[in-house]
């Protein structure tokens, strides 16, 4: 009899404990789902310990991956190819900038006092050391943190275009949410006519490295191949960073209700190095 009562008592205690932990976790979820929460130190502690290991593992993974791909091809040709590809990237970026400058020229004539906002930033180069542990989201870790000048909401780009923004930054590493993640939303505009749209991540498209363009006003003229860039609205992303190109336009119910699929300039499956923008002042 006594034993039975003890078991009952223990069960009650266990149930109580589970309930308590559940409530505490709900509170933690509530607190941390807001931006700039104060619980960040807790994660930073763990990440600081773990990030060098992740760095080493990803580095080895990269190396093994690359070594395996050398099997059927000459090493030198690969290297040269890579060099040339980098050069092409540089040139493409330059070309893109020049094109952009050309389209902007008329605008600038009207407003000569507008500065090129991207020139106000320093570039911090960073490597991707870890990806998200699950299959649903697209958050990754980079090897630069607040000691290098990376802050929450810092903007992350690659040589080709916008990658995302920093979600949380620890002392030596930072989490970056990419623009193809379901929780990401970027205010954007079409380069050719400067009309505002929204670019959001979409879970069905993220595996192909694509995202969606919403809020296209009925009167906006949009076509496949149009270039999309950040609008500067919202205060996180500076104006004029290339996001990508319109790949497909889809009607939902009628012609006025439509969304577009964007092919980001950045290839998220191949992404290894990124740059974090740090404002100069």
């Amino acid at each position: 009899m006594k034993g039975g009562r003890n078991v009952l008592h223990l069960l009650k205690k266990k149930a109580f404990l589970v309930l308590l932990v559940t409530i505490v976790l709900f509170i933690a979820i509530g607190i941390t789902s807001r931006n700039n929460s104060k619980l960040g130190w807790f994660g930073n502690l763990f990440n600081t310990i773990v990030s060098p290991v992740q760095n080493a593992l990803t580095f080895t993974g990269n190396k093994v991956d690359k070594t395996l791909s050398y099997f059927d091809d000459n090493k030198k040709i690969r290297e040269e190819n890579e060099k040339l590809k980098k050069r092409i990237d540089e040139l493409e970026k330059e070309n893109e900038e020049l094109k952009e400058l050309k389209t902007r020229n008329d605008m600038l004539m009207e407003a000569l006092n507008i500065k090129n906002q991207l020139k106000e930033f320093d570039y911090i180069s960073a490597n991707i050391i870890a990806k998200d542990p699950g299959n649903w989201f697209n958050v990754f870790t980079i090897d630069k943190g607040s000691t290098h000048g990376v802050n929450n909401n810092s903007v992350v780009v690659s040589s080709k275009g916008l990658v995302g923004r920093v979600l949380v930054s620890g002392p030596f590493s930072a989490k970056v949410i990419s623009i193809i993640d379901i929780d990401s939303a970027v205010s954007a505009r079409l380069t050719k006519n400067r009309r505002y749209v929204d670019v959001k991540g979409d879970i069905t498209l993220k595996d192909k490295g694509l995202c969606k363009m919403y809020n296209i006003q009925p009167d906006i003229d949009v076509a496949v191949g149009d270039s999309v860039e950040t609008s500067g609205i919202g205060g996180i992303f500076p104006k004029g960073i290339k996001i990508g190109e319109v790949k497909e336009i889809r009607q939902v119910n009628n012609e006025l209700d439509r969304y577009a699929i964007i092919e980001p300039a950045v290839d998220f499956n191949m992404l290894e190095d990124v740059f974090v923008l740090k404002s100069k002042n």
Binding site: K14, V18, V21, T22, L25, F26, I27, A28, I29, T32, S33, L39, F42, G43, F46, N47, V50, V53, Q54, L57, T58, T60, G61, V64, D65, I129, A130, K131, D132, P133, G134, N135, W136, F137, V139, T141, L167, V168, K175, I182, D183, D202, I203, T204, D207
Partner: protein, 171 residues
């Protein structure tokens, strides 16, 4: 007890490290296995609901920290997963590999469906069947495959710890 905690802690950290780094290179159809879930299920099967829940809680917490969106979501899911697996399977052959594989498969589907519901469905993506065939089902298969190895390791470690403890008690 100390060796059990050490085993669980190292298991969690190794699974998490593998999941965020190396597994990225062996994705099939953009899906990687969820080793941590398999680990939680294996430990809960062998050790019962209390240890399962505690292990699940800490595994989930580490997951939260590494994935970086909110802290508490996976900790909550992990705790309940460990608790439920540990409590439901009391009377079944707990170190039978086929039982473990079956439970890994079914709990993978349940777990990922819950993640889908809170992380994706509530944000307006209601096409469940699509996600089921593209993410949840392949991941469950992949988990089951990786469970063969993980469950084997967990069982071996568990037996070894039991043996050591029996020896300790003798003297």
């Amino acid at each position: 007890m100390r060796s059990r905690i050490a085993f669980a802690a190292s298991g969690i950290i190794i699974c998490l490290l593998l999941q965020t780094t190396i597994l990225e290179y062996i994705k099939i159809n953009n899906i990687k296995p969820n080793l941590l879930l398999v680990f939680i299920v294996s430990v809960a099967l062998l050790r019962g609901n209390i240890e399962g829940a505690v292990n699940g809680f800490f595994a989930g917490l580490m997951w939260d920290i590494v994935s970086g969106k909110v802290i508490g979501f996976y900790a909550l899911l992990g705790m309940y997963l460990g608790l439920i697996v540990g409590s439901l399977n009391k009377r079944i052959y707990r170190d039978n590999i086929f039982v473990a594989l079956f439970f890994t498969f079914s709990y993978s589907i349940i777990f990922e469906t819950v993640v889908y519901f809170f992380g994706v469905f509530l944000k307006g993506n209601t096409d469940f069947l699509n996600f089921f065939t593209k993410i949840i089902f392949p991941e469950a298969l992949y988990n089951t495959a990786s469970a063969i190895l993980i469950f084997f390791i967990v069982v071996r470690a568990d037996r070894r710890i039991n043996k050591a403890q029996k020896l300790l008690r003798k003297y």
